[in-house]
Symmetry: C2
DNA sequence: CCTTTCGAGTTCCGTGAAGAGACTCTGGCA
DNA sequence: TGCCAGAGTCTCTTCACGGAACTCGAAAGG
């Protein structure tokens, strides 16, 4: 939790950061996405402090991004992505694309994605929901929307 | 700077977080993107501590995301996105989409984007670079890539 | 020429969050 | 009855954020 409350800002970026802007949160999401669903697994894989992991998991569950499911009829839990959480992973996929392009170096990307629909190893491209053409940071004008600050 | 060094992990998400994972960094990028390029403007708009703003700007310049340009023949600077930085804004656009969808509430999105190519107010969609079909978190298999950890 | 102003930081201090690791609690199971 | 494993809690230290005051360099103004 940052000292400043990003959630109250009239900005979807700030609000999103309020949910996953804390250190470790995106990596927790990544791990849950690829099937690491239990506390001990996450702790071992990330090397994160147990205290912080507990805090992050609670925060993500509170915000409806993860869901806590019991298993084994014991006080054991697994964490799973909700629909809301699965859409957040889209953000991670774009981060992966950027990291692969600019930071991977000679070794190449650490992981690859195979698209179910076509079977090819590929990456995400961004397109306009209106016309379907590519859409990037420089291709848009930013206008005030209905939820803009007063 | 997180205590743990994300930049050393074999994960493009962690590496990207090493560049923009600190609090405020994405919001600084957003402001520079929409034309707030000077120190005083950024400080006033964000309400961020001057010390932290200095640290973040230096970090972003070091990582080649922003570029410091002198103006007015004085010790005055403006910050601008590099190509590397502009591509990072793609990540922010996807965050905006998620925040608009899940967090904006009744008031609606704070800002809207008008796409230059078609003139329509729209959002980003994610597609497969191979087949062009939609591609989301659940539509891919994750495979080890050439840069995977040993 | 001396002082003011303005942008762009730098310094200092107090508090709170991250990190490490030990401890607890619950429910099987040998 | 004792042990084990998963899933947390507790405690302590250290570092980073937030806020405010201070500095510095170059015009500008009288």
């Amino acid at each position: 939790m940052q000292r400043t409350d990003f959630g109250a800002m009239a900005c979807s970026i700030a609000r999103t950061l309020d949910v996953i802007g804390e250190p470790w949160s995106p990596l927790i999401l990544r791990d849950v996405w690829v099937g690491m669903t239990r506390f001990e697994q996450l702790q071992a894989d990330l090397g994160i402090s147990r205290k912080v992991l507990t805090e992050r998991l609670n925060h993500l569950v509170e915000h409806g991004v993860l869901e806590r499911r019991p298993y084994d009829n014991r006080p054991r839990h697994e964490y799973h992505l909700t629909d809301k959480g699965a859409e957040l992973v889209d953000v991670l996929m774009v981060m992966v694309r950027w990291g692969d392009t600019w930071l991977a170096g000679k070794a190449g990307p650490p992981v690859l994605y195979r698209h179910h629909a076509c079977g090819e190893v590929s990456r995400v491209d961004l397109h306009c929901s209106g016309c379907g053409e590519p859409m990037h940071a420089g291709d848009v004008d930013v206008l005030a929307g209905p939820g803009a600050a007063a």
